[in-house]
């Protein structure tokens, strides 16, 4: 389906929904009919904002689901603690409460700066440590090697250095992208 078709279908859906409101509203005079219709329209828009909230929560869940397993487990345990407290206080364990809590926990423990992309997610600190390890390893190999520093080892060092720098840059980009994305989700709530 092309974008144009999709747009037409969306518009048709909106129009038919409004036709539904028009046929459901009633009144004994034109004025009372229009007042009744206005009520229907405002109810419809509030249900739409509810739907938008659910969509945002779904996005948030997708975001959380790409975090590393160990982190999700830790978050789940913390969330369960909070939910138990809330339940004791008489607040039901609702789906949106659960997601909100998870996001707040993300923020509170400073892991909203987690780098991520579609296939992989690694914390910025871990990435940095990994890169430093490779750099030190490369330099050590050259310094302590009985082989001549020039030649293959030198090439290897430059290769490792290049990959490391590229990796740092990519992860820095991921961190900022992740930060923006999370802020967008949170600001929508």
């Amino acid at each position: 389906m092309s974008n144009k078709d999709k747009k037409n279908n969306d518009e048709s859906r909106q129009v038919f929904k409004c036709i539904d409101l028009i046929s459901n509203a009633s009144g004994s005079s034109p004025e009372s009919y229009l007042e009744n219709l206005e009520e229907y329209i405002s109810k419809d828009s509030s249900s739409k904002s509810e739907q938008a909230k659910i969509d945002r929560l779904d996005k948030a869940i997708k975001f959380i689901s790409i975090l590393p397993g160990w982190f999700a487990k830790r978050l789940d345990a913390k969330t369960e603690d909070y939910i138990r407290v809330l339940n004791k206080a008489g607040i039901n364990d609702r789906y949106d409460i659960r997601v909100m809590l998870r996001l707040r926990l993300l923020n509170s423990i400073g892991l909203d700066r987690v780098a991520f992309d579609k296939t992989n997610s690694v914390s910025a600190g871990f990435t940095l440590a990994l890169c430093l390890f490779f750099m030190v390893l490369g330099m050590s190999l050259i310094k302590f090697s009985t082989l001549n520093a020039s030649g293959n080892f030198e090439m290897l060092f430059y290769w490792v250095l290049t990959v490391t720098i590229a990796y740092i840059i990519r992860n820095l980009w991921d961190v900022s992208y992740g930060q923006i994305k999370l802020n967008q989700i949170l600001s929508g709530m």
């Binding site: 518009e11 036709i19 539904d20 046929s23 009144g27 004994s28 034109p30 009919y33 329209i41």
Partner: protein, 144 residues
């Protein structure tokens, strides 16, 4: 399946056929005039698929009564003064703007707005305990 919109009153296909015949169109002629294939026109009349807003707007241009087609009733218009009609139309216009802003993120084509305006206006005109339903008047009494 005719399930894209559950909103329209039952018998949409039969009313579409009735309107087409009232206007003197064959299936093929109406389909050509609107710009759809004859098979599509046939499937709308059999309620196998549902038309979109563009189809409805083009059908209205060909003379199809959308109020009857979509809501399944003929307009029994209350007798109103020009000023009353203008006030109602103004209010209807405002309500459509409100709907578009709240539920459609501010975007709705002119055709769609026109369809909604026409239906809302007619439904408001009809809303009354004392509508002027000309169909129930026995004109034979006045012949003599």
């Amino acid at each position: 399946m005719f399930n894209s919109y559950k909103n329209i009153t039952k018998g949409f296909g039969a009313r579409l056929k009735e309107e087409r015949e009232r206007l003197g169109f064959s299936q093929n002629a109406l389909a050509t005039a609107i710009g759809v294939k004859r098979l599509a026109q046939g499937s709308y009349e059999k309620e196998l698929t549902s038309p979109n807003v563009r189809y409805l707007a083009d059908a209205a241009r060909q003379g199809v009564d959308l109020f009857y087609l979509l809501l399944g009733k003929h307009l029994n218009k209350r007798i109103l003064s020009i000023e009353e009609e203008q006030n109602i139309e103004k209010r209807v216009f405002e309500l459509i703007e409100e709907y578009v802003e709240r539920s459609c993120d501010g975007h709705l084509s002119g055709d769609s707005r026109y369809i909604l305006f026409d239906l809302m206006r007619k439904q408001a005109f009809e809303s009354s305990d004392a509508v002027a339903d000309l169909s129930v008047i026995d004109f034979s009494l006045y012949k003599s």
